[in-house]
Amino acid sequence: MEILNLFREIANNPNDYVKTWKEENNGKVMGYFCSYTPEEILFAAGALPFRIFGTGGNISMADAHLQAYSCSLVRGALEDTLSGKLNFLDGIIFPHTCDSIQRLSDIWRLNIGFGFHMDVVLPVKLNTDSAREYMVNVLKKFKQRFEKELCCEITNENLKASVEKYNRIRTCLKKIYEIKRENPDIISSSNIYAVVKASMVMDRNVLLEKLPRVLDLLEDKKSEVKYTGKRLILAGGICNFPDIYQIIEDSGGAIVWDDTCTGSRYFEGTIDPNGDIIESIAQRYFERHVCPAKHSGLFNRGEHIVRIVKENNAQGVVFLFLKFCDPHAFDYPYIKEMLDKEGIPSMLFEMEDLLSSEGQLKTRCEAFLETL
């Protein structure tokens, strides 16, 4: 269990972890948003990719820049940086996704004095040849600019080594998910969440040593005892509320798979380390199931969610969105309709912040699980 404590500690206090890391390694920390950041390129340059979640809680400084109708991720991240909590960043990377992140990038660029700022304006379509060509060009340029900012050269060997490591990280995370779905009892979802979240902030070389140990631990605990609770799929955007898992588990359910950007969208798909690596990185984005801020066909997300429900023998879907999140809110009715047609029950929970939502979520969850 010690190993899980390590992950939990980092997940609970990512900023402290990374500050220590920076001192000890004299390294560069690159803040980033969203699973469409080509982390592999950052890592190849020896930098530490650090995912920004927004710590939540009281918003005071961000109010001078953002209206109250922006999602808690965007406001929380701005609050963190304005209040100096992210001063350790050497740079920040904004991949283009939703309208809110787009404007957050502008506001950040105009108000935050430290670190360099990079926008990665990826295509919105992920299903045409011209979009693929554009994406490859954007990623190539990104690499060049990054080399310039860090005064380093990212060789092909570095890149290759980086994607190979990322492939191993992603495969490990996926295996952990697979064990969880076979034996939902052996590890709590909040522990899994801690592992995934820590994976997005910690030293990736250390991570690569630690992840297999989590796997070993789980392999040892595997049993033939059948899980008797309710099997659920979690679908949504970023999930930064570890307590949710506890609430679901306390209500008698387990999340056996997910479609979130702090979950399966992060680890699905590996990158071909042979051939043109930048093209391979683009290829993964084209093949991986999309986030709703991107376009790849009209039914593709709905079909994906129906598929993972079936593949994982789930009984229901919990949609969890941040309040004011447009892309997810627009997709919800059609996906729900597709689930309804298949006779798959679902519930939607929109979160503003955890404190005000917790009690309500508990009641809703219990009621939902009872119907399954």
Binding site: A64, H65, L66, Q67, Y69, S70, H96, T97, C98, D99, S100, Q102, R103, L104, S105, D106, I107, R109, L110, N111, D119, V121, P123, V124, K125, T128, S130, A131, E133, Y134, N137, V138, K141, P292, A293, H295, L298, F299, K323, F324, D326, P327, A329, F330, D331, Y332, P333, Y334, K336, E350
Partner: protein, 414 residues
């Protein structure tokens, strides 16, 4: 129009813009033509407000604008009802109310004109927001028709070479898409004429807007909100050119005979963001009662912003620039520069910003724009929190108090 008003105020009658009647006729005919397209065999394309309409006109396709529809729904105060319907359909109240009301209209033929005509294709250009992408996906599923997405990468600080190449390629894909859906060759000669007409229309519209440089202004932003519909919906046709020519004449005429939009204009204000459609009259009267005229706005001028980039002789090739570098597709600092240019050009001494819950790309960043504007030009600002269509987000008493307080500040400065 109530009798009371006509009797009460001949002054007001004099101030009315005479072209309005003609404009209403044109819009009515346009919608009749669109709604009877099944009888004339013409195809209908739904297209986003910032989308490249010229190739559609060249292909004889009738363009229909769900956003204009949204504005009509707002203006006819049908927004709340339709917003509630969309909520019943599962759409969150926090989403864009143009999108919500349009989506809610489809299954019930709702709204002021009994629904838009069914599309044969959908053309979505994301140069205004990411919302349109989701909205058009929804409509493409509902109507089961082909969807073309013109992806115009956001220009935080630049329109990069690779982005430009990408947009150019897509314009070719767009023409191919049209050839496929319309089952005929693209007419490049016709396109040349349409391109010229489009630019002519844009220039005339800009000239109309520029008449308010004159003090007092012959029209206000509220008039511009109304007359905007043509440059949005019929850009690229002779109708627009003719209409704006005569509107321009009327404005010049008003200047000569000293007719202003606001009697006794003392304060000149700049408006930012989409109008609050269900309250334009109330707001206009409210500001007029303080001798304030909204002389310009960042919204209606957006349809001429491509003028700088499009080359008359080579419309198709320069379209990538024209359609990517529009106001809403630029970084906040660029937007602020534009606002400052407008303040100078129209000699505005105050700025009114509509913080519009519906439109995140237009509203997020407004505070920073204000900060930049205040650093460079010392003028008072007012932020109104509301929504363009959903009246539930409008608090009259609160807004009234804020306007009054703002006007006091302005008056004290004079």
């Amino acid at each position: 129009m109530t009798n009371k008003e006509t009797v009460e105020d001949p002054e007001k009658e004099k101030r009315k813009i005479k072209s309005v009647k003609k404009m209403k006729e044109i819009m009515t005919n346009y919608y009749i033509e669109a709604k009877t397209a099944d009888q004339t065999g013409k195809k209908i394309a739904w297209i986003t407000s910032g989308g490249p309409v010229e190739p559609l006109i060249a292909m004889d396709v009738i363009p229909v604008y769900p956003e204009n529809h949204g504005a009509m729904i707002g203006a006819s105060k049908m927004g709340v009802d339709l917003c509630e319907k969309s909520e019943e359909m599962g759409y969150s109240r926090d989403l864009c109310s143009y999108a919500r009301t349009d989506i809610a209209c489809s299954p019930i033929n709702g709204g002021p004109i009994g629904g838009l005509p069914k599309p044969d294709m959908l053309i979505c250009c994301n140069n205004i927001c990411g919302t349109v992408l989701k909205w058009y996906e929804i409509q493409a599923r509902y109507y089961d028709v082909p969807l073309f997405i013109l992806d115009t990468p956001f220009c935080h600080t630049e329109f990069s070479i690779e982005a430009k190449e990408y947009v150019k390629k897509q314009i070719n894909e767009y023409l191919k898409f049209l050839e496929m859906v319309c089952d005929k060759q693209f007419d490049y000669d016709r396109m040349k004429q349409v391109g010229q007409l489009s630019l002519k229309g844009q220039r005339l519209w800009q000239a109309v807007l520029d008449t308010t440089v004159h003090q007092p202004a012959p029209m206000s932003a509220f008039d511009a909100f109304f007359h905007l519909a043509l440059i949005v919906t019929l850009r690229g046709t002779q109708i627009v050119v003719d209409y704006y020519s005569s509107l321009l004449d009327e404005m010049r005429e008003r200047i000569t005979s000293g007719i202003s939009a606001v009697h006794n204009e003392k304060h000149r204000l700049l408006w930012d963001n989409i109008p609050i459609w269900y309250r334009t009259r109330w707001l206009s009267e409210k500001f007029a009662s303080h001798d304030a005229c909204l002389v310009a706005d960042t919204y209606t001028s957006a349809w001429c912003s491509s003028l700088k980039y499009i080359n008359e002789g080579n419309f198709l090739d320069t379209m990538a620039d024209g359609y990517t570098k529009i106001y809403l597709n630029l970084g906040v600092d660029k937007m602020a520069e534009h606002v400052i240019e407008m303040i100078d050009k129209y000699n505005a001494n105050g700025i009114v910003m509509h913080s519009n819950r519906s439109c995140k790309p237009y509203s997020f960043g407004q505070y920073d724009i204000l900060k930049i504007v205040k650093e460079k030009r010392d003028i008072p600002a007012l932020v109104i929190e509301a929504d363009m269509v959903d009246e539930r987000s409008f608090s009259e008493s609160q807004i009234e108090t804020r306007i009054d307080a703002f006007m006091e500040v302005l008056k004290a400065r004079k």
